[in-house]
């Protein structure tokens, strides 16, 4: 002890920001083994025959969007009511790229991600300075502005309420207009996003953003520039939402202002709460459950939104860690006998 703590020889702690690429390289791979990825792939492949390829592709895109939202809300504790802005930006720029620049779908997706990322970089400089309700509402405000812009002032480019068709050319011998190929491509994207986020959230960067969620001031006591990490997370979440938007544009071969509809933000919030916030599996499970409810329930129940409201009330009061959290804890209780059932109730959303 005496040798380690020296008043004179102590060097100042390093203030190097976390390098996300280095984090990805250094986090042990075995912790995020292929079993997880195979499990997710198998899950989507199994449920596909029950519905349709196109629908499941849509579900998977929503899951990517839910993971981007979960990074912000579940991991960093910043509830956003404006994540659709970045999804819409991705969709529009992907569509516009195909329409005006090149039909190459991969380049179009990159354009969608880049512009959504760029927008989140700019807006993030303002937005991440806020917390709580202010953070949620300022996101909503920017989403409203974006929605208004594509609807009216930019209608010369975006074709306003009518939207425009997106017909990507073939990529090599692959055509993303083919539903099975689009399904396979989106599945790969889901796995890639999951893999990257899983590794990041398991690294010191992940520990850091979870600490920010708990108590930002105390993270500053540990020498971190929390603004930078909040901004980085915001940009990462915006870029992933941009990917989801680009895939939406390609999946529907069409973009209209619905891609940026502020009301759709409720869906991703519900999905995260249903699945369990702060857990990537939860985002996927919640995304699928929400999409099943919102796609299939209207066929049988006229005012299906009421069911969604009731299910959320039940989740808030009974399953506060969401469906995945409950499954996880039940599994731990049954197999490892680690958790007292009553402890489940103590978890906050």
């Amino acid at each position: 002890m005496k040798k380690e703590l020296s008043l004179d020889e102590g060097k100042a702690p390093c203030d190097k920001p976390i390098d996300l690429l280095a984090e990805l390289r250094s986090t042990p791979i075995k912790e995020h083994g292929v079993i997880d990825l195979l499990g997710i792939a198998a899950f989507f492949l199994v449920i596909t025959p029950l519905l349709s390829t196109h629908r499941i592709t849509d579900f998977m895109i929503f899951c990517i969007f839910a993971m981007s939202f979960d990074l912000l809300y579940g991991y960093m504790g910043r509830l956003s009511f404006g994540q659709m802005l970045y999804l819409g930006t991705g969709a529009y720029f992907c569509g516009l790229f195909i329409r005006y620049v090149s039909g190459n779908p991969l380049l179009a997706i990159l354009a969608g991600i880049a512009f959504a990322g760029f927008l989140s970089m700019l807006l993030g400089l303002i937005i991440v300075r806020t917390t709580g309700a202010c953070f949620a509402l300022i996101n909503l405000a920017f989403n409203h502005i974006g929605f208004f812009l594509v609807l009216s002032p930019l209608r010369g480019i975006t074709r306003g309420e009518d939207g425009f068709g997106v017909s990507a050319s073939k990529f090599g011998s692959l055509s993303l207009t083919s539903r099975p190929i689009m399904f396979g491509f989106v599945l790969l994207c889901v796995l890639l996003v999951f893999y990257v986020l899983r590794r990041l959230t398991s690294s010191p960067y992940g520990i850091l953003i979870r600490s920010i969620k708990e108590d930002e001031t105390r993270v500053r006591f540990l020498g971190y520039n929390t603004f930078y990490y909040k901004w980085l997370t915001f940009v990462l979440a915006g870029s992933i939402a941009g990917l989801a938007g680009s895939l939406t544009a390609l999946n529907y071969s069409y973009v209209n202002p619905n891609a940026m509809d502020v009301h759709s933000n409720v869906g991703v919030v519900f999905a995260c709460l249903i699945g369990g916030a702060g857990n990537l599996y939860g985002a996927i499970v919640g995304g699928v459950v929400y999409m099943i409810i919102s796609n299939l329930l209207p066929i049988y129940i006229y005012r299906w939104e009421m069911f969604l409201g009731f299910s959320l009330i039940i989740i808030v009061f009974r399953f506060r860690t969401g469906v995945w959290g409950y499954i996880q804890r039940s599994w731990e209780y049954l197999v490892k006998r680690k958790v007292v059932p009553g402890a489940m109730k103590k978890e906050a959303i």
């Binding site: 002890m1 008043l7 702690p13 001031t217 105390r218 006591f221």
Partner: protein
């Protein structure tokens, strides 16, 4: 090591510290005692950059630090252990240490070793969520975490508040082990602890330094000191 001159601090219009001036030498353990509202915590919060002084200066190792942010002060070797014993409750004990190790660039195994050496029982709780620890264990974790990354000055606010006597003894032993290795400014009401550890004692009264005591026999005179609590 730390020179404070003519420090005035206020919460809005309510002035809490009035013209506080003091010096703390390198390697010393300086204690602050005083009644509730005397300004002890305010003083620590001002040193660590959470509050901005109205007037006065805080010079640390020859450099003016008033107005610097907590993260800048961390990089200068200052560590703050707040009163509330707030660990990152949803992180494991190991993650609580890891986040400090990463900030300081200290290897994780080295940081873990450093923390568990001051309190070996923590080894059994490394995978436990820190929120499930007892108050005493949390306090020890916080003190241990503050030692990660070569600290130079510890600022500890009421480390024994609300803890059982046996845990207080443990904390006193830990802090005692740090004597002569790291400078510390400790706010404390437990006079037995002050008696055992203090090299210098400041008595705060209504936002002013009422007395400064360096003499050991005076520090040991707990009966007299009790009048100030």
């Amino acid at each position: 090591m730390l020179e404070i001159r003519n420090l005035d601090v206020a919460y809005g219009h309510a002035k809490v510290l009035h013209d506080v001036s003091l010096d703390i030498e390198r390697g010393e353990m300086a204690f602050f005692i005083g009644r509730n509202g005397a300004g002890k915590t305010t003083l620590l919060k001002t040193i660590i950059g959470l509050l901005k002084p109205q007037n006065g200066s805080i010079v640390y190792q020859g450099q003016e630090i008033s107005g610097l942010s907590p993260e800048d002060l961390y990089l200068k070797g200052l560590r703050y252990v707040a009163q509330e014993k707030k660990v990152f409750g949803n992180l494991t004990v190991q993650e609580n240490i890891e986040i400090a190790a990463f900030a300081s660039g200290e290897p994780m195994d080295h940081a873990l070793d450093k923390v568990t050496r001051i309190y070996p029982k923590l080894k059994d709780f490394l995978k436990t969520k820190a929120g499930q620890l007892s108050g005493g264990q949390r306090q020890i974790l916080l003190v241990g975490r503050a030692l990660v990354g070569e600290p130079k000055l510890l600022l500890v606010d009421e480390p024994t508040q609300g803890l059982a006597a046996i845990v207080i003894e443990e904390i006193v032993n830990i802090l005692s082990g740090l004597k002569d290795q790291v400078s510390a400014v400790i706010v404390e009401q437990n006079l037995a602890m002050v008696n055992r550890l203090a090299d210098r004692l400041f008595i705060l009264k209504e936002g002013k330094v009422a007395r400064e005591i360096v003499d050991r026999s005076e520090i040991s005179d707990t009966k007299e000191l009790e009048e100030y609590l």
